[in-house]
Symmetry: C2
Subunit: 394 residues, 2 copies
């Protein structure tokens, strides 16, 4: 019952000569120039560290973006849904880590992936489930490759490295038929709460320490544990020492967003994703512009409210240049209405006539992109270069 | 460049004999029994008032739901996107109000709808745009039917009834070729901030008063203004006197949600929509269950935070019966992880083994449904009766 991926073909040259002003709004705009810069910066960091990189495709969910990361070659990826695994595997990305705890009901779909040649790795943090996965492997005649999720910061799932259950689970996985123990992974989700780069560096070190400790409880030689995986965009950006780690994961860095700006991970000029919208009403008495990008097109993610700069539901840019218009913020969002106000002045309404376009930078690129089925690709100006599709759903 | 609607055919009987426990999670579950009850209650209210009903399809975006409202016949509807207009018109719902301010760039797509036989009505609140719409009508050889949006409560778009611009705009629309003035519409969005039923009744009265005043500025006889449209789920539910009104709009009432419960519009047992999810990890030290419905499957809408009962990102129910499990709430949501805690006690983890299913009631049904492409339809028990598709996008 998986969702079906349908890519509707349009005639070649469909976007030929089109500008942002020709697009129906609201829609997603992706600046390929900024995207490439973000991708190259992270690839360079990984090369300096001499560590393998397993990008998380959950943000873009887009073949073209991952192909750009890999410079046209294949390579390891991380996914957040089995649909992503199916979608990317069909394109040749067959070394996949499914980074959400597996449950038995999902194993028949995993088996189909394995049968199709996908080297899909699963994660779990519980002995009962490990036994069920092993039994299912035996019953289905496959070997499920499994990592143990390690909790390095109390943020989400996983076992603590020094929890006796960690060693017990590793031994259980090593002993059972139907499964193959592949290593450990952790994700410092708490790095998203940092208020300084130093703090992010500490979380990066915490990820590494948690994995090395976990390896230590099952083996004297780290090399016996093939996958020792860490990462998040903040920690991958600022990690100083990745000794003992076999691979790094990061996702949102490809697009960046206002939350990452607030963390100090990037600058506004690095944000590659925006929502193109049209001014639909003026409310001078309330000092408000209304636009046709509301809670669906922008998402209701208001995560920057917890940061020094509350960006509401997004900051406002000139449509053509993508330059931020200082002080304009989407302060409220109904389903198909976004309400823009100026934080520090009366809006110059004549500058934003009804019918004119703006772009909105997202708080959280993963959430904003998810309401849309495609990206309209630009390259630093307002000409549409391409359109790339997403694999939404589960 | 509108989104393409693709309905993938499955063999008949695909869901025959299937139970909720057979579904991949996360996914949407729609209880047809509750849905029908909500629909009948609103239809009955409108019949008592003797007023026409123009349901807003933006919540369900689903043909089967609107067919149920109309008992298999066609009839007037309200839409929030042109894609909804195209989708529903193709199914015979050709009397449509597009309830988001029109901008000139969308008129070619509107013309296509008119050419296909759709009686699509537009709204606006600005004289410059009215002139542009009129000019486009003349140029394209069509007559755009237009309502003026009235702002009854300062919530969103629209002109105040006593604003001289309101009378001016009506006269302009009556005088111009290329447009036909059809009347007034208003929406008391502020009814969502009410803290008592009495207050909701006052907003319902405010909607009616705003429309009657607006009619008064252009005509001595209300009958000369064919469309006098009011509504929201709260005000449609509690309106006492709809004299002078030609039609009522409401959307979310079909599913209801926790926000409407908080307003006093419905009871929890009326909520027809839920997200089916699977327990994927236990964190006893944090008194947390992790599930595979996160911010994408549930949405990041946290609107109940402003109400007496903060429901986090949703309340938790037994999967099979749909009964609320007292005190369990989704208190945090990452992209594909929901974190459930108990507000008042230590969770009994043995009752919720990893791999077991739960259902989550949404804060805001419109936002939660939007991440999913289909509903799995049940009827009071855990048997899958049908699956109905949505028209997402713009």
């Amino acid at each position: 019952m998986k969702s079906r991926i349908v890519t509707v073909g349009l005639r070649p040259g469909y976007y030929s000569g089109m500008k942002l002003s020709d697009l129906d709004t609201p829609c997603l705009v992706l600046d390929r120039t900024r995207l490439r810069r973000n991708i190259e910066a992270m690839n360079d960091r990984m090369e300096v560290h001499g560590v393998a990189f397993r990008p998380h495709v959950k943000t873009a969910k887009c073949l073209e973006v991952v192909r750009m990361i890999r410079a046209g070659k294949t390579g390891p990826i991380t996914v957040s849904t089995l649909l992503e695994a199916e979608y990317f595997c069909a394109d040749g990305f067959d070394d996949i880590l499914y980074a959400v705890s597996i449950v038995p009901a999902k194993l028949p779909r995993v088996k189909k992936l394995l049968d199709s040649g996908c080297d899909l790795k699963l994660i779990l943090d519980n002995a009962d489930i490990a036994l069920q996965v092993a039994a299912a492997g035996v019953e289905l005649g496959v070997t499920f490759r499994v990592l143990i999720e390690i909790d390095c910061d109390g943020h989400r799932a996983g076992l603590a490295p020094d929890d006796p259950a960690t060693a017990g689970l590793a031994k259980l996985l090593q002993a059972q038929a139907g499964v193959e123990f592949m290593g450990f992974m952790t994700h410092a989700g708490e790095s998203y709460s940092c208020t300084s780069i130093d703090q992010i560096r500490q979380y990066a070190a915490l990820e590494v320490k948690a994995i090395i400790e976990s390896v230590g409880v099952v083996s004297a030689a780290a090399i016996d544990i093939p996958i020792r995986s860490v990462g998040s965009t903040p920690t991958a950006t600022f990690a100083e020492d990745l000794q003992g780690i076999s691979e790094v994961r990061a996702g949102v860095y490809v697009f960046q967003d206002l939350y990452q700006v607030g963390l100090g991970v990037c600058k506004r000029e690095d944000i590659a994703l925006s929502v193109l919208t049209t001014v639909i009403s003026h409310k001078p008495g309330q000092n408000r512009l209304l636009v046709d990008a509301g809670g669906l097109a922008l998402s209701k993610d208001h995560s920057t409210a917890a940061q020094t700069m509350d960006c509401g539901y997004g900051l406002v840019c000139e449509a053509q240049s993508g330059e931020v218009i200082s002080g304009l913020v989407v302060d409220s969002a109904n389903q198909e209405h976004g309400m823009i106000t100026a934080l520090d002045r009366q809006i110059d309404f004549a500058r934003f006539p009804i019918g004119s376009q703006l772009r909105i930078l997202p708080n959280h690129a993963c959430m904003t992109a998810a309401a849309h089925d495609r990206y309209h690709v630009i390259a630093g100006d307002d000409t549409i270069r391409d359109r790339w599709f997403r694999c939404n759903g589960w």
